[in-house]
Amino acid sequence: MSLFGLAKRSLGFYWRTNLGVLLAVLVSTAVLSGALVVGDSVRHSLKMTAVARLGRTEVALVQQNGFFRTELADELAAELDTTVAPVLQLRGRVADSNESRWENRVEIYGVDERFFKVGAEEKKGAFWEDWRQGVVLNEPLAARLRVGVGEKIGLRIENPGLMPREVPLAPDSDLSIFLRAEVRAIAGKSEFGRFGLQANQIAPLNVYLPIKWLGENLDRDSQANVLLVSGNPQDSITVEKANEAIRKHWQLADAELELRRLDWQDVFELRSRRILMDEALAAAAMQAGGQAVGILTYFVNELRVGEKTTPYSMVTAMGRPAEGNSIIPSNMQDDEILVNRWLADDLGANVGDSIELTYFVLSPMRTLVEQKNSFQIRKILPMDKPAVDPNLMPDFPGLADSNNCRDWKPGIDIDLDKIRDKDEVYWDDYRGTPKAFVTLEAGQKLWSNRYGNMTAVRYPRSGRAVQDIAKELLGGVEPASVGLFFQSVRARGMEAGNPTTDFGQLFLGLSMFLIIAAVILTGILFVFGVESRSRQVGMLLAVGFRPRLVRRLLFLEGGLVAVLGAIAGTAAGLLYTKVMIYLLMIAVSGSDIQFYAKPSTLVVGALAGVGVSLFAIWLTLRKQASRPARELLAQGLEWQFFAAGRVSKGRIGLATAAAATIGAIVLLVALGTGDSSAVTGAFFGAGGLLLIAGLGLSQALLKRAGGVWNRPMVSLAGLGLRNSTRRSGRSLAVIGLLACGTFLVIAVGANRHDPLSEAHRRDSGTGGFTLFGESAIGILHDLNSKEGRASLILDDKSLEGVEVVQLRVRDGDDASCFNLNQAQMPRLLGVRPEELKKRGSFGFADTIEGKGGKEAWDLLNRDEGDDVVPAIGDYPTIIWALGKTIGVESKNELKYRDEKGRSFRLRLVGMLKSSILQGSLLIAEDEFIRRFPSEDGYRVLLIDAPETKADAVSAHLSERLTNFGLAITSAKQRLAEFGKVENTYLSIFQMLGGLGLVLGSVGLGLVVLRNMLERRGELAMLRAVGFNKTALKRMVFYEHAALVLGGLVCGVVAALVAVGPALKSPGADVHYLSLGLTIVAIGISGVVWIWIATTLALRGGMLEALRNE
């Protein structure tokens, strides 16, 4: 016989009571461990998704503004001793053969077998082994298009073109190519079908084509813009090593440069396939080779001297080195010009005359802005070498390959009437030979733009080989400056797999009330068990057990029950997890969360279950053996309750109530005004404190009512109320359970928002826009201007009254509530802040410096320093997806890299209310262009169309801009989709809260039953003195209804304060009737439990009870 043995004996003997405790522990443990396993499952699924989308990729290079040789992959593979896959990545649109189903935003990947070696499971006879034509779709895309192997699809793929699309001379007629192809295979996860470099957990829509085939179709043969480097067995692939390998192996062609020998000029000429060489590259080129001569040749619309004009000509700006081979004399001034004889004759110009040049410059949305500049003719050059040099004209697409001027197809409108026969003859004889020359400085001042400031650099040969200059040039440039740099995508992917929101904690939070209810129930049931054995406790004390030892004995018994309950609860928790995962997948549609339980989590869950149960048991035991043995041994347990010296005035409760009320008032006064998210927190905090105050007050009332003897109760109700004070702990537990449940129901209900209720307003989440468009290919033109619309063949009349705000897009991680990953570098949108400011679009929830209203858009133009860019996002993006905030220094910045590999930081300066821009961050367009100059066009359209013609506008734009892969959705619908996620979480919360309330009701029923059973003798006495059963039921009803009412009042009052801001907020969708009905239902449920328990307790012979008494 030992204490443990005694505890074991009691465990079995009192199995009914213990079973109740065990079930309560089971529930709390199941919910606890279940919630933690949800966290495991989400983390595991995200890690699995990261593995599925990256395969064995360790580091990756994504060239943003150009293409490199596919051979670079072979060279790096040999250097790094691993597989390196070249990929040609583009965006596109795909449709089934009869265009009945299509997807507008599809990732197009040109790949070869190396790609699958990096990411797919090894298998013999796989489709990539002998794959030259045909496309492969990934499973989600095939499912959406409902196409299978062997069927034909149509692909529209963006055509990157040679020149940046926004340069006026760049043609805009071949923005995309169209391919019709047969589906060769459908790639599942094991075949790298999930590939994607962005940490998005919703599967992308991918099309794979043989890289060679795709390259040929795009005139990008043997070129790629992405490299995937597989981890090697030595696990030695790092970003540093990969970048070092690039430095070692990169060639001019990898920066789309070409160094050619020009014989009669006796020079090497460096030119770019992209026509313009960017400034960094040009600067490095000028340093290489010595005596380099920079060249910028530009297309001018008109050359004029007096009334005479020459149309459409090339003018070259050229450096003038001290000892170089340049046409420009070293002492030529920037306002001087050299013209060739042909031009001088054509214009009748002489040395000293002023000549006016008219030309287009780069301006937003390809608006053609014509500028003029005048020069003084310094010299007339003979029509001979070196001035007659057709090589000075870069290979302007649409010009260089034309046989005559009338075939020119540059990106600007050419007035063919202006072209004279003599111009055609000049073209035939001299091609693009420049007709005039200015200094490089003068030319760059006029014509350089964000894409570059030179079209060529020439080096005197001086007996050197091409390789020498190439080596010198490459040695002077960091590959990253032309976009050739690796990023650690695996590390980033794994980091993203640790979501900002810990779903274990989230579901723990959502289940908290259920857990609390189960724990309170554990305590109630356990204490009932102990109280029914109070004489045993008394006996143990009497025979010399110290109170601590008695408590230890009971605690041991409770511990055994808790352990058993926790073991069973952990098993039940797995089932609970499955239900929660199912609900989570409803909330975040498209997510794929797999059940995964780490053994350590189960142990933690079980221990936590045991812990909280033991805590509840310990709380209830604290006072158990502290009563004197003589009291416990006494037949009636109640007498001591009213004994001398025990009358309590409920001072603790009163003090608690007073402190909590003061706290609530202080909180509301200090933080409860203004227009920030702190207000919501303050009100919720105040509500919570008032709930505590209510419970404190209830405790005090119960104690005081129990102690008041000098006012005799004179009614049945009075007797009932007096009875409710007998077990103030129990009564308080009932009030607490109901109050918490009511608080929760109202708080959740009031936070429900109908995102669409104010959606027409400009300061709402739609920004006052009716439609939201996203395209695969950037739209270059201004959709608000007549010219822009005409360029896109849009019908101006159909778009009457329509305004469009066009946003530039830099792809990144989706930071919306649809992505469970922790977004590392969210998608960036470039916006002209003044456009949204003028419209007053989108409401701000918080800003730095407390700037509110539409003025807050100015924050995007703040000067934050060279490497800091101000950014704005909406509340769910900043708070939930990124885990950031406004104004707190350590939590308001994100690290980014621009397309040249330079690091910069985004500083969050404003937070919009939940909006259709969720998932992205906005920066000012000029900053966007500075960081990502090669992101051409606008891919997000915010369309403000009259409500009545929204559908027609949507149809018109979708049809006319189909080649851009434009997908338009209703702004309201988009906002509602985001809102649905939040509301589903609230529903889960409410459902779990409801379950908690059910447990609370069970607790209430048990308390009533217990109270009645304890007082059977007393009730029998009352019957003996003439009360009938109905009267007794009424008395019991009064007693417990007072508790139910107390709970409801505490909960409702506290909740109404807590949700004050939510009730007043725009879009608040509080269903007062349904909330009211819910509260009434809680009350009715309480009454039903009282009735059931009373009926059970009053059943049977009362005289028996009286005799026992």
Binding site: G538, M539, R630
Partner: protein
Amino acid sequence: MLELINVAKNYESPGRTGQLCVLKDITLKVETGSSVVIVGPSGSGKSTLLNIIGALDRPSAGKVLFDGKDLAALGEIELARIRNRQIGFVFQLHHLLPQCTVLENVLVPTLAEKNRVSKKEVRERAVNLLERVGLKDWMLYRPGELSGGQRQRVAVVRALINRPKLLLADEPTGSLDEASSQNIADLLVELNRSEDVAMIVVTHSVKLAERIGHVMELSDGILTDKGRR
């Protein structure tokens, strides 16, 4: 061994002024191996007095000396130790643990202080005592399977398991039939002698009082020696 000097016990009366005086100026001396029976009407304070003697309650005034030690000066832990080692209790209701066997019930007081006596030794004593009260064959039964008299005998054995110097019995026959009462009275007298244990019995039963001998009466809080019967 036990001496009560001018012991009084008062209770605060809620809602009223003044105090309720249950025991007044009680003086009592009990020697080792002696026995005393206290009689008196209901509400006279018999149980209160017994609780004070048994260190379950403290007097409002006066001293309770046990082996020369003033119980009022001792802390709860020391009192619990005295209750466990020096005093045995028999209640009107047996207060046996229904979940334990008869033998286990007898051994319960030995669990209060770990390793004080060897388990073997204490088990042997329990079996011996049960044999002496005629319950050896019942020692593996549960209390629910025993008659009222048998249960009370188990309770008596439980009270003696730690060889107490003083046995306190509060209405030990109060809930028993006549035959069982007689039986318990015999047992108490016999154990008083054989175990050399002093005994204080509170009872209404005249027969039990006569069997024990030295009678004292408690009335209106005052204890009066009625001498031997």
